[in-house]
């Protein structure tokens, strides 16, 4: 067995693609090329930081019926459905509030509002207002969609499905710290995924082990990375849809595991917004499999809650 790994940068994140296989390097290179191309294609079509992406064009046409691709339809339908399931804690129409809070440009230049489309003067409405037809969708005038809350998860699931279709079942893929893994490592042992410390990123505070070998997704959401000061006010990128303000529950980071990366991605954010108590509820309802919450503890210490 050999392990192949490719590192690249896209979606303003570090991306690591790792495959364990018996196949030759030429074949795996082609496979990794395919994954790379899919990532590039996804960003080109669904990044809100690209003014001519499919997503940006859709937002420009708010209020009008717009033909969308099958992939866009899938993501939008998933987003609407998850918004309803999470009682609005996740909301794909959060973009105006996100930009108003200060996250206008692509990280790490979030204040770069000149180059990206600005929808901060629009409203945040419930995702139930999204209308979806057979191959078109419509959002109310004066709203705007962002796939930032589930895009990486959706893409990870897509990449994993592609690897399975190519008979590759031992791999781990990381998009900026959101991970999906399957199978085993080069020693035929389960993948162990370490959880980085919220405040001390040089330490690992916990780990998840993929003992069953099937697909396992791990997503980490938090307020410790993408943040800044806007109009003399601190902001981060996890916005509470109800208040329209950055979430302030004391949660620093949340790592959750689920069988699908899109679920892990969305519910990790919901726990940041809803607080540590909601993590237990999600686990009891079998929405997520396990979690590690790092929250503000006494003085400078970080409280770690595992479930």
């Amino acid at each position: 067995m050999k392990i192949y790994q490719r590192n690249l940068r896209a979606m303003n994140s570090a991306i690591i693609l790792t495959v364990v296989t018996k196949k030759d390097s030429r074949r795996i290179d082609q496979l990794l090329d395919q994954l790379t191309a899919r990532i590039g294609e996804f960003e080109r079509r669904f990044s809100r930081f690209l003014n001519n992406s499919e997503l940006s064009n859709f937002n420009i046409r708010a209020g009008r019926r717009t033909t969308i691709s099958k992939t866009f339809m899938e993501i939008l339908t998933t987003a609407k459905s998850l918004s309803i399931q999470t009682n609005g804690l996740y909301n794909p129409l959060i973009l105006p509030a996100l930009q108003k809070a200060g996250y206008k440009g692509s990280w790490p230049n979030p204040g770069n509002e000149i180059k990206t489309l600005n929808f901060s003067d629009r409203a945040v409405l419930p995702a139930t207002k999204i209308d979806i037809g057979r191959f078109w969708a419509q959002i109310p005038t004066n709203t705007a969609v962002d796939f930032g809350g589930l895009g990486k998860g959706y893409l990870l699931d897509n990449l994993a499905d592609y690897l399975y279709s190519q008979d590759e079942t031992s791999f781990w893929l990381s998009l900026g710290g959101d991970i999906i893994c399957s199978g085993h490592d080069i020693y035929s042992l389960p993948w162990d995924i370490a959880v980085q410390g919220a405040l001390n990123q040089g330490t690992n505070v916990a780990s998840f082990s993929n003992n069953r070998g099937r697909k396992l997704a791990v997503a980490t959401s938090g307020i410790t990375k993408r943040n800044g000061i806007h109009n003399h006010k601190a902001w981060h990128h996890i916005i509470d849809p109800q208040s329209g303000e950055p979430a302030a529950t004391g949660v620093l980071t949340v790592s959750v595991t689920a069988d699908k990366a899109v679920i892990a991605d969305v519910y990790a954010k919901c726990i940041v917004i809803g607080g540590e108590e909601i993590a237990t509820t999600y686990k009891e309802n079998r929405i997520i499999e396990s979690f590690v919450v790092q929250a503000k503890g006494n003085s400078t210490k970080v409280k770690i809650i595992k479930g």
Partner: protein, 362 residues
């Protein structure tokens, strides 16, 4: 951009060319919804032409071929009509929101002016093949009966699909060639629309396509009768299918190629002039200039650089490493693998130490 080849071309009326193209490879095949359009560019004198947009007339259920009906009345379309079978075509798309929804558009009235019938052909074919529930009525207006395109196809489709009806309107001249069809002299008027709709306009969705004047005329009638905005869907055909910036997403790659070609030509010319000048000056000056020239030649950019389309903006050169198990727990890696096309094309992937999975804030 998808690569296609011309499969056939023929004129179906005085000025209308029917163009059939097929994908060069299966992966180039595009999927589309009936009513959408695509942008086409053909190869001429070693370069691809500018792109023009045309509605797809064929059924979306058979994408091994794409058909376009093109009015030949300018340089672009004339040259396109002269292309040989097997010639290369570049295609982008599909684009457009001129599409019928099964659920919302139960009763559809299609108002077509001249070549504006093209998007409707795809819709009507699709409806006949899939047996869609929507009722479709096409009112097709032309100046003379010789301008009518797809007459036989439309009559046949009406026979095949009891949910589809067609009527031809001829402004000038005879209608004898339309015998046996529902053909009327004159234009599509308010009284005819009143008759068709029973003056209950909001029971229908109106799709209008054709020249701007035709669209404006039809819209005026509909709006005067209180037709809701949602029930009027339009697609304007610009003169000779000219491209509008708003219709086509921006693509900087062609401009970049031209810019870099011009830049390298200029620099190359200056270099040659510089070298000629050097030969004409005394030895002391030559020694200094030779040093300068060697620096310039190593920086000459490649004329063929363009922004690659398959890598995300901002990505660096990806590198692949392969390892085999060693005696310890740490992995040793060797760089191998083929560099993929990136903005740093040609750079050697750096060796990388294997990184284990660590989840962190994304």
């Amino acid at each position: 951009m998808a690569k296609y080849k011309i499969k056939s071309t023929r004129f179906i009326s005085r000025q209308i060319l029917l163009l059939c193209i097929h994908p060069k490879h299966n992966r180039d095949r595009i999927e589309f919804v009936a009513g959408q359009y695509a942008a086409i560019s053909y190869r001429s004198r070693g370069r691809y032409s500018a792109m023009r947009c045309f509605s797809i007339v064929s059924s979306p259920n058979h994408t091994d071929e794409l058909w376009f009906a093109i009015r030949v009345d300018g340089d672009f379309t004339t040259t396109l009509a002269g292309q040989k079978i097997g010639s290369s075509i570049l295609l982008r798309g599909p684009f457009g929101n001129f599409v019928i929804d099964d659920q919302y558009d139960r009763n559809v009235i299609m108002l077509a002016g001249g070549i504006g019938v093209t998007p409707f052909m795809s819709m009507i074919l699709d409806s006949a093949e899939i047996k869609r529930p929507n009722r479709l009525t096409l009112l097709y207006s032309n100046t003379t009966q010789n301008d009518v395109a797809f007459k036989d196809s439309l009559v046949e489709l009406e026979r095949m699909n009891d949910k589809f009806k067609v009527a031809f309107f001829i402004s000038n001249g005879d209608i004898d060639k339309l015998k046996g069809t529902r053909a009327l002299r004159g234009r599509i008027t308010e009284s005819r629309l009143n008759q068709l709709t029973g003056e209950n306009y909001n029971r229908f969705t109106f799709f209008i396509c054709g020249p701007q004047g035709f669209i404006n005329g039809m819209k005026n009638i509909l709006e005067q009768h209180g037709t809701e905005t949602d029930r009027i869907v339009t697609e304007e055909f610009l003169v000779a299918g000219k491209l509008s910036d708003s219709l086509l997403p921006k693509d900087q790659s062609a401009r970049m190629v031209y810019f870099l070609s011009a830049a390298s030509l200029t620099i190359g010319t200056l270099l040659i002039m510089g070298m000629d000048l050097v030969r004409a000056v005394p030895k002391l000056a030559v020694a200094y200039s030779t040093h300068q020239t060697s620096n310039i030649s190593s920086q000459t950019p490649s004329a063929s650089q363009s922004t690659p389309s398959n890598v995300a903006p901002g990505s660096t050169s990806p590198n692949t490493s392969t390892t085999t198990p060693s005696s310890g727990n740490s992995y040793n890696s060797q760089s191998s693998g083929t560099p993929t096309p990136t903005t740093n094309s040609g750079s050697v992937p750096a060796p990388t130490v294997y990184q284990p999975p660590i989840t962190s804030v994304s």
